[in-house]
């Protein structure tokens, strides 16, 4: 049963991981961060990741309508660019929260499918009661 830091360090062990953060997507606050961040500033990366997560979670086109309150309306978001991937995994909790696990992967070494599966497992273990 890991805490926030252990969870992020585990994410960093994925092949090609460049940086990871746990972000509150209602406020844009980084609750924890390790490794590098795209702009060199974890705080502003967290704010921007939160904007993206909020858009996906609150727009009818992307959120699943019948999701129970304990489940986030979106599972994950994937962004690919020329040299890297970003995976944002929503963390479902029984209590009130709004957090995503944000992983930044180098495109050449990273394995997107593996990262997606592992992040889902980590998000589940983080809040295992």
């Amino acid at each position: 049963m890991p805490g926030i830091d252990e969870c992020l360090l585990e994410a960093m062990r994925l092949p090609g991981a460049r940086g990871a953060a746990l972000v509150d997507w209602t406020s844009g606050l980084a609750l924890g961060s390790v490794g590098e961040s795209p702009g060199g500033d974890h705080e502003s990366t967290a704010t921007e990741a939160a904007e993206l997560a909020r858009l996906a979670a609150e727009h009818q086109a992307f959120a699943s309508e019948d999701a129970a309150e304990a489940e986030p309306p979106v599972e994950d978001l994937i962004i690919s660019n020329r040299d890297s991937y970003h995976v944002l995994r929503f963390v479902g909790t029984t209590f009130d929260s709004s957090v995503v696990l944000h992983l930044w992967l180098a495109r050449t070494e990273g394995n997107l499918a593996l990262a997606r599966i592992r992040l889902a497992e980590m998000a589940g273990r983080l809040v295992l009661g």
């Binding site: 926030i4 406020s27 609750l31 009818q60 983080l126 809040v127 295992l128």
Partner: protein
């Protein structure tokens, strides 16, 4: 021929120096306490901050649901289990520690709930107040297993949250007044969270009341409420607020007194 001599300019206070001295300007007293690595409890009008060696360990506010509400509202923890832990430990923070050590609370759950409650309550504790804050030096609350947060992070986050709310809808009256539904034609598409908030708008509940009933943190609820107000679905009622009354004060005497107080706190 009269020569008009311009009088020498009046001395002007160097505002940049004062601002640097008082940190981010949320609470000069808090900045000073952080600098001297103080341990104790800072009591302000809308909440309290618990400090340990200049770091924030915990925050509480009557306007933000506490650990008890967040933990038990949706079955994360059995209420009976919570209250027996509180009885044994004497206070909520001690109860959380007991439950953690007993294996009833996972580390990730504990950290997320604690940090969520801390920043939520700190937002209100650091709200502009009309009375000076008091600090009681005391023995440090045993921190482990709770994470501590630097004062600067809490201040920065509080300011950012204010800006976020302001960017949704600049009028803050809906934060503390009882809310009522506004008569309006077609409602815009709402999220499930917003619908739950709207369902509880009945002309007497305030945003913090609704947050508590839903077992949600108050700040995200304020964001939902400001969006509903901006969409014209909800309007703040006219009844004078009981708890939160950040009334606009334009009286020059009061403004001067407030500036004096801030200056004294900054010393």
């Amino acid at each position: 021929m009269t020569v008009v001599r311009t009088p020498p300019p009046l001395p002007v206070r160097d505002k940049t120096a004062a601002r640097e001295q008082s940190g981010s300007g949320v609470s000069p007293m808090l900045t000073r306490l952080a600098a001297e690595r103080a341990t104790g409890v800072l009591m302000r009008e809308c909440g309290t901050l618990h400090l340990s060696e200049g770091q924030v360990v915990h925050a509480e506010s009557p306007l933000a649901p506490g650990l008890d509400v967040l933990l038990t509202a949706r079955g994360t923890l059995d209420p009976a289990q919570w209250w027996s832990a509180v009885q044994r430990a004497g206070d909520p923070v001690g109860a959380v520690r007991l439950l953690f050590e007993g294996g009833s609370l996972a580390p990730g759950t504990l950290e997320l709930i604690h940090l969520g409650a801390l920043f939520d309550a700190a937002y209100f504790a650091l709200a502009p107040s009309s009375t000076p804050g008091r600090f009681r030096y005391g023995s440090p609350p045993a921190q482990a297993p709770l994470r501590t947060v630097p004062v600067a992070t809490v201040e920065r986050e509080t300011l950012r949250r204010r800006t976020l709310l302001h960017s949704i809808w600049p009028d803050a009256t809906s934060d503390g007044l009882p809310l009522s539904r506004a008569e309006r034609g077609a409602a815009p598409p709402l999220t499930a969270r917003q619908r739950a908030v709207l369902d509880r708008v009945d002309g007497s509940r305030t945003a913090p009341d609704i947050a508590r009933e839903l077992g949600r943190r108050t700040f995200p609820t304020l964001m939902d409420v400001r969006r509903l107000v901006a969409a014209g679905v909800v309007a703040p009622g006219a009844r004078p607020p009981a708890a939160l009354a950040p009334a606009e004060v334009n009286d020059p005497d009061i403004t001067l007194l407030k500036r004096l107080r801030d200056a004294l706190e900054a010393l």
